[in-house]
């Protein structure tokens, strides 16, 4: 996917001025945030589970090569064909080839952010395939030629009125006078359209929430059942997963799953949790004949040896963005690439480079709410700061910013000079602002004063007053 992360400021400004988007974002707080809080409070061991889950993933990542080999062996024994794709190009080529070998015309898809990462739909469509997203949110995004704005709620940026308008625009074979007021009516209409695609699909592509080394299985968790229809009705099922989806055992999945839905939607567990181990066996009544697993690296193994390894613990629950005040203000598209919110601010520079995505780790107040809710205890603010350090070392910040920071730190490292400068500067500022108590404009702070006044200082420094106070006390 092409990135507009370098335009974050403009993207954000446009998002802030988009009334419909702002209305849609207003639903986050009462929805996913409140639901997660309830689920967390209802599970006494929730916080302990976070430690256990973190340790499981840390252990896996430290031994990823071994578990990957074990997974491949088990999956192959169960009848899977496992493909390793170092890059997005490789993954696209592998998947297209499987589709072509299957003689596919229609491809259905379950929800997969990795497929967004490699722009899979465009690639398959360019080769003449019809690609149908079957997750409701993904379907909405697809028919609007947009991208997901949230990793678990891809169409969270849309209002119900927009969805109705799109359905009337596109589903022209349905009666004009039909009623589309209730969400259930919209869902039913989408279901009707998608059922027909499921039945005609030649290939079904899904992501995976987990790959299990012990059994060679892939796991998807969904709420709509679309993933199950995608993977079991078509003759060929392709799983597309990135390397960090691997966990050692079934038991590990059972542990992490207890956190996943609670963190994501506040459910105890998703409506559907489906384990796939190989394709259809001779005794099975249904299921895909061919079962392929495409495992994507795309820059992740480079992160393994760095301080950013921790980001690979992510299980894509979306809690960090639901709780992020920046995400809540601007929505997901402003981030400009696949993964929005705090997880995107750490992962995106890792996958497309800090030069292209430098804004993202900077556009944070380090309020720490993301780390507080992350089920895998990823220290997101710390990792964002590491990106800022990488940016600073590569001198990617603007010259003006570096000069200002350099001047400030020159004084901050020299207490005598610092206090002297403060003693001279502050009374001037204080005198200027005393009557009104604030400034509507100050040099170099237009980002602040465009929207806010700057309260005026009291006019003398504490250090000066304290010195006088002590001298007075000694007399």
């Amino acid at each position: 996917m092409n990135s507009t992360s370098h335009n974050f400021k403009d993207n954000a400004r446009a998002a802030l001025g988009d009334k419909q988007l702002q209305d849609a974002l207003g639903n986050l707080k009462g929805g996913l945030v409140a639901q997660r809080a309830r689920a967390r409070d209802a599970l006494p061991e929730f916080e302990d589970l976070r430690d256990v889950a973190r340790d499981i993933k840390n252990h896996t990542l430290a031994n990823l090569d071994l578990y990957m080999e074990a997974y491949e062996k088990k999956a192959t024994e169960a009848g899977a064909v496992v493909h390793f794709a170092p890059t997005a190009d490789d993954a696209r080529a592998i998947i297209l080839e499987i589709c072509q070998q299957a003689g596919a015309r229609i491809v259905t898809k379950g929800k997969s952010m990795v497929s967004e990462e490699i722009s899979l739909n465009h690639h398959l469509e360019d080769a003449g395939l019809e690609v149908v997203e079957t997750d409701l949110g993904e379907y909405l995004v697809q028919i609007r030629h947009e991208t997901p704005s949230h990793i678990i709620a891809p169409a969270i940026h849309l209002t119900q009125a927009q969805v109705e308008a799109d359905f009337r625009r596109l589903h022209t074979h349905l009666p004009k006078e039909r009623v589309l007021v209730e969400p259930a009516q919209l869902v039913n209409e989408a279901r009707q359209i998608l059922r027909e695609k499921f039945q005609r699909a030649d290939v079904g592509i899904t992501g995976a929430n987990f790959l299990i080394a012990e059994t060679g299985s892939s796991v998807i968790v969904t709420n709509e059942g679309n993933g199950d229809l995608t993977q079991s009705l078509a003759k060929t099922h392709i799983v597309l997963a990135s390397i960090e989806k691997l966990v050692p055992t079934l038991e590990d999945v059972s542990t992490i799953i207890r956190l996943l839905a609670r963190s994501a939607t506040g459910q105890e567990i998703s409506t559907y949790t489906t384990f796939s181990t190989g394709g259809r066996r001779p005794t099975d009544p249904d299921g895909p004949v061919n079962y392929h697993v495409v495992i994507l690296d795309n820059g992740r193994s480079d992160l393994l040896a760095t301080e950013f390894r921790e980001v690979l613990r992510c299980i894509r629950c979306g809690a960090c963005m639901n709780h992020c005040p920046v995400y809540n203000a601007v929505g997901g598209h402003a981030y400009g690439w696949v993964y929005p919110g705090p997880i995107g601010s750490v992962l995106t520079p890792g996958l497309i480079g800090v030069k292209a995505a430098g804004h993202l780790p900077n556009a944070s107040t380090f309020c720490g709410r993301c780390e507080q809710v992350c089920p895998m205890k990823i220290p997101l603010p710390k990792l964002m700061r590491h990106w800022r350090e990488a940016e600073f070392q590569q001198k990617d910040n603007s010259a003006g910013f570096r000069a200002g920071l350099g001047l400030w730190s020159y004084f901050a490292r020299r207490p005598k000079l610092y206090h002297l400068a403060a003693k001279i500067g502050i009374p001037m500022l204080g005198a200027l602002g005393r009557r009104r108590g604030r400034f509507a404009w100050l040099p170099l702070t237009s980002g602040w004063t465009k929207h806010r006044d700057m309260p005026a200082p009291q006019g003398r420094t504490f250090q000066k007053l304290w010195a006088e106070h002590k001298a007075g006390a000694q007399r």
Binding site: K9, A12, L16, K29, P325, V326, A329, V330, N362, A363, S364, T365, F366, C367, G368, R369, E371, R385, W387, R388, E389, A390, F392, Q393, N397, F401, L405, S409, F411, A412, R413, P415, Y418, H419, A422, I426, R434, R435, G437, R438, A440, S446, G447, W448, K450, H451, R452, D453, M454, P455, A456, P457, Q458, R460, T461, F462, Q463, L465, W466, H469
Partner: protein
Amino acid sequence: MSSSLPRPRVGLFVTCLVDLYRPSVGFAAVKLIEASGCQVDVPETQTCCGQPAYNSGDRLSTIEIAKTTIAAFEKFDFVVAPSGSCAGMLKKHYPSLLKDDKAWGPRATALATKVHELINFLVDVRKMTAVEARFDGTATYHDSCSGLRELGVKDQPRQLLASVKGLTLTEMEDNEVCCGFGGTFSVKYGDVSNAMVEKKTHNIAAVKPDLLLAGDLGCLLNMAGKLKRQGSTIAVRHVAEILAQETSDPALGDGS
């Protein structure tokens, strides 16, 4: 607190914002710390905790500033700052910044054990349960992020505010959500920062308080700046000013 014991020596980490912007908060802090049975000193060799450099990715400058701060404060029994953000920097981030430095790592860790945010120090360390202060009116309290999430400052200020005569505390919605300050973030991403502080001032105004309080001057400057731009008459003060009844100076952003 037996008066026969020597009073613990507290080094006040003034914070750059209090030093430059609002010395009255520093004097309020001194008054409160002394009332808790300690003696206070203010080393002249302090400047800033280093967060502007730290959060801009300038690790080397931050380490230099951290060393200056450690050297200035390690002789005290306690180090107290009227800011959760700066106290968090000294307590949580200095040790991790210097962990690979054989000489300074242990010094940073030793200092960290003595560092406290002001209200947290008064309540949790000095077991203060009430203050001698009066404010007639209603107040609402914003939980600043670092104090709340790094240091667990939540109930302590409310406990002491409950002892202020005449004061009624009314909680606003989302008092734990960031106000949008974030240091340089507020200038670099001014539009996003503004959207965040707008939500905050909306929640503040909704409970119609006479007074907005918080424990960090950065957040207070941001919220006061927005409230005043909106023409609000809500007074904005650091919580220490109310607890110490140091209110002779105008509130933040109000003229004299």
